[in-house]
Amino acid sequence: MSDRPLLELDHLSTHYVTARGTRIVRAVDEVSLTLRAGETLGIVGESGSGKTTLALSILRLLPPAAHIVGGALRFDGEDLLAKSPAQMRHIRGKRIAMILQDPMASLNPLFTVGDQVAEPVRVHEGVGRRRAWSRARSLLADVRIPVPDQRLREFPHQMSGGMRQRIVGAIAISCEPRILIADEPTTSLDVTIQAQYLKLLRDLQREHGLALIFITHNLGIVARMCDTVAVMYAGRVIESGPVRRIFNAPAHPYTQALIESIPRLGAGPTRLTAIDGQPPDLAVLPAGCSFQPRCTRAIERCRHEAPPAIEVAPGHPARCWLADQSKR
C-alpha cells in the first residue's frame, strides 16, 4: 500500500448561497481529511452539521445552490475539482460509490432488481444485458441474498427493508469502486438487521479492498466500524484522528460531551452528561468558535476568535484553544 492517500480533502469549503446572494450558509468550511486505501473513516455530526453536504461535495453531486468555493479535492492523485461533468459521471458509481439512508428512495419501483443491479455494469463497462445479469446474480450472492435467481426478477416492493438495503449495497459495489460512501446506511433498519448489514459491509470491505466512509450521527457505529473519525460541528471538522485515541482522549469539549452523553449498556442509572442549548443555525453562526455558546469551558478568547486546527498529537488535530496550551 502506497503512502499516498486515496482521497484527500484540503481546506475544502462548500457554501450554499440563497437566490439573491443575501445569505451564505457555510455548510462545509475548510475541511481537511485523508482516507487511505482499505481504511474506514467515520464522519459524525448532528443534523445540520454539514456531513451530508461533505459527502455530496466529494462526489460533486451538489444541489444548484451549493458551490465548492475553495480548497482542493484529490482522488487517487487526480484533481476532482478540475473534472468535467462527463468525467465525473465516469467516476461516480464506478470508482466512488454511495449508499443512501432510505433504500426505497434509491431504488426505482418500476424496474426489476436485476435491471437495477446490472445497470451500472452496463453503463460503465459496456457489458451486454445477458452478461450484466449474470454479474448481477453473483453480486446478489455477494450481499448474501438467498435464491438470487428468483430475486433478480422481483421488484423492490417485494422485499424487506434489510434486503433492499443489501441490494443497494450490491449496486454500489457492482463496478468494484475504490471508495464506498455510506450515508446513515442503517438508520432505517432494526437492530439485528443493522448488525447483519454492518457485518456485510465489513466483509465486502475485506473481500474487495474498499475504503469506506461512514456518514453517521451515531458514535456507536464509529466505535464498531471505523479506523479514523472526523467530528463535525457547524460545518467544520472540530476534531479528527484514530478512533481509539478520540474515544480515550478527546481533546475538543464537544467530542468529550458527545461521548459522555450516550448511555452505556450496563453502566447503571448514572446521570448522562447533557450538552445545553442546541446546534447553531449555519447562516448565523456565533462569533469566535461555533461551539462556544454551549461550551462549559469557554474562555474569553473563544468568544471572538475562531480556533485553527491545532495538532494535539500527530494525526490528531482539534479546533479548540484549550487544545493549544493543554496538559498533554
Binding site: 448532528e46 448488525a195 450521527h217 461521548i259 452505556r264 446521570r271 447533557a274
Partner: protein, 320 residues
C-alpha cells in the same frame, strides 16, 4: 398500579369483494406485565414485535381482543363512563416526532392548556398560571407560551409535548420512542429531564425505544418482545448484564458499543422477523435461533422464572 394480564390484540385480515375475514395479524398475543408508581417498564423489540400496539392498548386507543388491563386493581372493562375518564386523564403519552405531534397553528400556551380546557373547568387566569408552571417544569421560559411550535428546535418541542402530557397530572406516561427523532447532543437533555420528572412527580413510565442502551438506562424493568409475545421479563440490570433468552442475547449483542474497546460476543441472527400473520409454530423465534432443538418447533415455551427473571425458552426448563 397498572397491570396487563394475557393482553391480546388480533387485527382481522380482510380480503376479497365481501371483505371476508381471512386470518388475523396477531400483533399482541398474551402479554402480561405490571407497572408500579414511580417505576419505568421498558419495552424493547424490533418492528412488528407489538410494542406500539401494547402502548395503544394501555392508552385505550385500541380495544384488546382478549385479556384485561387493571388500573389500581380495577379491570378497565368494568369501568363506568366517569371512571373511564379518570383513567384516560391518568394515562398520557409522548410520541416520537415532536414535529408531527404539535399543531403548527396553535400557540404553545394553547397546546399545553388544551387538556386542561377540555377536562377541567378553570378560569383563564388559573389556566395561564398552570401553563407557566408546566413550562417551568420542563425547563422552558414562560414567554414560550406565546410562540408557535415552529419557533422551537426538536428538543424544545419535545419539552412542549412533555408539558402537555403532564398538564392533567397523570400517573403513567407512555413514552413511545421519545428521543429517537432528536439530535444526539439533545437526547441526554430529554432523558435527564424525564428522570427528574419521575423522581419529583412519582410518575410511572412505559418506555418504548429501539435504543437498548437508552432503555436499559431509563428502566427498572424490561420486557423483551418478539412477534407479539414477551420472551424475557425482569429487572433491567439483570437482563442488560446477563440476557438469557437467545433473542435477547442476540439483540444486546447487536447493540452498538459506546466505546471501541467494548467488545461483545458476535451473534449475528440469520433471516428476518417472520410475518405476524402466520407466526412459526412452537417457539416463534425457533427458525432464527442458534440454539434450536427438537421441542422448539412443536411446543410453545411459557414465560417461567429462571435466573432472577422470567424467560420463555425451553433451554431453561427446570432451572430455578
Amino acid at each position: 398500579m397498572i397491570e396487563a394480564r394475557d393482553l391480546t390484540k388480533h387485527f382481522p385480515l380482510r380480503r376479497g369483494l365481501f371483505a371476508r375475514v381471512e386470518g388475523a395479524v396477531r400483533a399482541v398475543d398474551g402479554v402480561s406485565f405490571t407497572i408500579d408508581s414511580g417505576r419505568t417498564l421498558g419495552v424493547v423489540g424490533e418492528s412488528g414485535c407489538g410494542k406500539s400496539t401494547t402502548a395503544k392498548l394501555i392508552l385505550k386507543l385500541e380495544e384488546p381482543t382478549g385479556g384485561e388491563i387493571r388500573f389500581d386493581g380495577q379491570p378497565l372493562a368494568g369501568l363506568g363512563a366517569e371512571e373511564l375518564r379518570r383513567y384516560r386523564r391518568s394515562v398520557q403519552a409522548v410520541f416520537q416526532d415532536p414535529f408531527a405531534s404539535l399543531n403548527p397553528r396553535m400557540r404553545v400556551g394553547q397546546i399545553v392548556a388544551e387538556p386542561l380546557v377540555t377536562n377541567e373547568i378553570l378560569d383563564g387566569a388559573k389556566v395561564r398560571k398552570r401553563v407557566a408552571q408546566l413550562l417551568d417544569l420542563v425547563g422552558l421560559p414562560e414567554r414560550a407560551a406565546d410562540l408557535f411550535p415552529h419557533e422551537f428546535s426538536g428538543g424544545q418541542r419535545q419539552r412542549i409535548a412533555i408539558a402537555r402530557a403532564l398538564a392533567l397530572s397523570p400517573r403513567l406516561v407512555v413514552l413511545d420512542e421519545p428521543v429517537s427523532a432528536l439530535d444526539v447532543s439533545i437526547r441526554a437533555q430529554i432523558l435527564n429531564l424525564l428522570t427528574d420528572l419521575q423522581r419529583d412527580l412519582g410518575l410511572a413510565y412505559l418506555f418504548i425505544a429501539h435504543d437498548l442502551a437508552a432503555v436499559a438506562h431509563m428502566s427498572h424493568t424490561i420486557a423483551v418482545m418478539y412477534l407479539g409475545k414477551i420472551v424475557e421479563y425482569g429487572p433491567a440490570k439483570t437482563i442488560a448484564s446477563e440476557p438469557r433468552h437467545p433473542y435477547t442475547q442476540a439483540l444486546f449483542a447487536a447493540a452498538l458499543p459506546a466505546h471501541p474497546d467494548e467488545t461483545r460476543e458476535e451473534i449475528i441472527l440469520t433471516g428476518e422477523v417472520p410475518s405476524p400473520v402466520n407466526p412459526p409454530g412452537g417457539c416463534r423465534f425457533h427458525p432464527r435461533c442458534p440454539h434450536v432443538f427438537g421441542r422448539c418447533s412443536v411446543e410453545v415455551p411459557l414465560l417461567r422464572g429462571a435466573h432472577g427473571r422470567e424467560v420463555a425458552c425451553h433451554l431453561y426448563d427446570g432451572v430455578r
